[in-house]
């Protein structure tokens, strides 16, 4: 009898796990909610730390999948029935699927910047999110203020919706620091004359080459990093943004004007993930991300046999870490299927 694995979510983690499992000879069905696989990676222009184009990685992952995997796009799982040793999935399309193992790779959502109303997103013209800036980079459209002017001063607000008790999210989203540094450099590449500021609590350059990039941003690109949390923003008559911040290195409140303000939005657990977790009785952490069976030793397993986790369902992940995690998940699934 053939053993089937269903992977829910065709982002970086889901695609990688699908390829690895297919390589191991498993039959895999990859379900994707959108028209195409690729997840959030599709929205990236260039990736940190080396600023290579995002599509290179996307293309690689897509080619790897090839025809080894049964990819089904525009699919949503409505209900999951847990059997003795298998699972029945009901899809919104009306179809149902049976599988022996289930991998949740449903990823994350971006923090809704409107929740930090004090930053004026969706109220002021020239406050945008990092995702929107990335989209602008990717589209190749000229980057201007909403009034069509070339920005002379650009600010990046770090930790928007992350490490913020008032926003209800105590965790660090990991990748926004380095994204902020990357995007600040990219702005300087486009507008060498512009003044660029980063407003941070502390910069968590945790991975290889990140710290070097931060040095480059300061030394080569003359980007100013100010330590302190932006407290609030207001809009000037000319639609530029006034922001108030406490410079915690000098313990003085500051007021600054920028033409464009970029909010580095963090990760939040997606409602879809939480819905599936509820159906499968999976434990959810205080931070509302899913809990693996063991944080260190069984990080892709869950307390429920046959159900596995990969990538950002468990919290913020970078692309490279998600790929590594998905590989581990594939091996664990393969080992599990052999016991059946």
């Amino acid at each position: 009898m053939t053993r089937t694995t269903v992977i829910i979510g065709g982002g970086v983690a889901g695609m990688t796990a699908a390829s690895r499992l297919a390589d191991l000879g498993e039959q895999v069905i990859l379900l994707e909610r959108e028209e195409q696989v690729g997840g959030h990676l599709r929205n990236w222009d260039r990736l940190f730390p080396n600023r290579r184009p995002g599509y290179e990685v996307l293309n690689y992952l897509t080619e790897e999948l090839g025809s080894k995997v049964d990819i089904r796009c525009l699919q949503t799982v409505t209900t999951i029935f847990s059997g003795e040793r298998d699972f029945q999935l009901q899809l919104a399309s009306g179809k149902s699927l049976r599988c022996d193992a289930l991998l949740l790779a449903t990823g994350f959502d971006l923090f809704d910047a409107r929740r930090k109303e004090e930053y004026g997103y969706a109220i002021y013209d020239n406050v945008i999110t990092s995702a929107e800036l990335e989209e602008l980079f990717r589209s190749g459209a000229p980057i201007t203020t909403r009034q069509g002017k070339v920005p002379k001063r650009v600010g990046f607000v770090h930790c928007v919706g992350s490490r913020d008790e008032k926003a209800g999210n105590l965790y660090c989203s990991k990748v926004c620091c380095v994204t902020g540094v990357k995007q600040a450099i990219e702005i300087k590449e486009l507008f060498p004359e512009a003044e660029v500021f980063g407003f941070y609590m502390d910069l968590r350059m945790f991975d290889r080459h990140f710290e070097e990039m931060y040095y480059e941003a300061q030394q080569k690109w003359d980007i100013n990093f100010l330590r302190g949390r932006v407290s609030e923003c207001a809009e000037n008559q000319d639609q530029s943004i006034v922001l108030k911040i406490e410079d915690t290195l000098t313990s003085r409140p500051l007021k600054m004007t920028v033409d464009l303000l970029v909010l580095l939005v963090g990760f939040v657990p997606s409602p879809e993930t939480l819905r599936l977790a509820a159906m499968l009785d999976l434990p959810v952490g205080e931070d509302r991300f899913l809990e693996p069976a063991d944080e260190h030793t069984k990080s892709t397993l869950t307390v429920k046999p046959g159900v596995f986790l990969a990538g950002a369902v468990k919290g913020p992940f970078s692309i490279s870490n998600a790929i590594a995690d998905a590989g581990t998940a594939a091996l664990q699934i393969h080992a599990y299927l052999k016991t059946l």
């Binding site: 929740r115 109303e117 004090e118 004026g120 109220i123 002021y124 008790e165 008032k166 926003a167 209800g168 105590l170 407290s231 609030e232 923003c233 207001a234 809009e235 108030k244 003085r252 409140p253 007021k255 205080e286």
Partner: protein, 598 residues
Amino acid sequence: MISFNLFVLPFSFGLIYLLYMIIRWWTKWIRALPPEDRARFRKGIFSRQFFSGLKEVFLESLVHRKMFRRNALLGFMHMSFALGWFLLILAGNIESRIYSTSHVNPPYYPIFLKFFIHDRTVLWFEINTVPGFFRFLMDFLLLFILSGLILAMIKRGRSRWFGMTRTTHSQLTDRVALVCLWLIFPVRLLAESFTDGYYGAGGGFATQHLGNLFAVLFRESSQHIAYALWWLYSLALGIFFVTLPFSRYWHIPTEVLLIFFRRFGIPPKRIASSFSQVEIGACSRCGVCIDVCQLGSAARIHDIQAVYFLRSVRDEQVSRDITLRCLVCGRCQETCPVGINIDLIRLIERYNFSGSHASDFTYLPEPAPRKAQVAYFAGCMTHLTPSIIRAMKGILQEAGIDYHFLDEEGSVCCGRPMMLSGKHEQAGELIRFNRELILQSGADTLVTSCPICFRVFREEYNLPVRILHHTQYLLELIKSGKVPLQTVFRKVAYHDPCDLGRGSNEYRAPRELLAKVAELVEVPEEKEDALCCGGSLGIYTISSRKRDLITSDALDKLTSSGPEVLVTACPLCKKTFSRLAGIEVLDVAEMVYGAIPE
């Protein structure tokens, strides 16, 4: 006539001790009043206020009117004990005069009258005679109290019938006093009955019949049983009186003094004082504050409610935790039948835990306002909700008002958060700065969007200008026809912010405004009973998860009638609700701004 027996000693000693304690503490408290309050007290005793004080003592301490309003069963229980016992003492005293020629009787004489007097001349049913009437009355009052006792026993198991979900966890002294209190009246009934039965006369409709039954059952030994019961009765009274000053029942004498303090115009103080001590002592630990506390009902924190906080202050065992874990929403204060200024006492205690403060405020800029008739102060919370500022600017422009936006370039805090953390001096710095700013503007009307600032401006700033919350000001503008409005047909639920509603007693203006632009739906707990949004500045020692529980619980109730929009009049409430609400959350100003025709 023998009118002494050894068993009267426990009672007599207890009574003397209790009177000594009352006199000692009352004297201490009255003497500790500042001179101006002592003068008020002296003047008050000889004024009409004294009699209205007596009336209030009767209505609140004896009849328990406020308890009745809350729940009839609860009110009756409290009334039967308090009023019943008071009348029993009064009637007993008068009754004892019938059998005494002396003007001065020992205090135990009326209490144990039936032990000393066995009046065979009048029978139990002869209630048209003076002694017969008193026997009837005394039995009736005793049964009245016993009915309350039965209710009190039922309440321990079925508190919901009395309108209470949770009741107070009692202390050892409370339990000892409670056992004595519960013993007093049944034992008195039995002691009198056994005595009346043994002598075959002297009882009323209840005691005589019961006594006759006992006489049949116990015959000669009923005299010994009666004597033992009189001892027990005296002991129960004596122990109750001795434990009273250390138990919840200390509220009985203390509340009386509190009522007179209030009647004589003695104001509450911001620092620990006689007034706050009397208030703390006047807490009866009835526990009605427990159910209304959202930290308990929504966030499952059950050890910090007003009753426990006040008790820990009285016992001088107040902890940092119990002092700081409070939303300072004012719901308990609103429901307190004794009317204790609970929030104020919290802030007094917080002063002791306030610690040092690093900032010296030298960074505050020099105030330099422009002159205008109307000064608008958004407040720092409103700066965090710029959509409210946009709405206010739009409406003021539409109305053609010449106003000066006092804190457009940035707010200096009104001082409330500092006050809530017990930092009076630091709050004073901020207040001085803003006060100067407001005075220099030369405005005669000060409008603010933040109920927190609004309350502090009114209570602390001592400003010679009209202070309005924006809901009040916008209502004025609309009534004077300066802002044209069209109704937006949306179903809205209105949430009363703590500092605007309970804090400043403004419930009307926002509702009137909303009625002009939308359709208001029913909200279960509103106005004085309104819920806190959970975003309170008064607490920072609970996790955000606990806060979320409070917010979600409030949202469930506020949206129970299915409104399209949740409207509030406070930027902090708006911000708190927005994060978890499934529907749009707007400020009243935004609703008004949205209703101005294009």
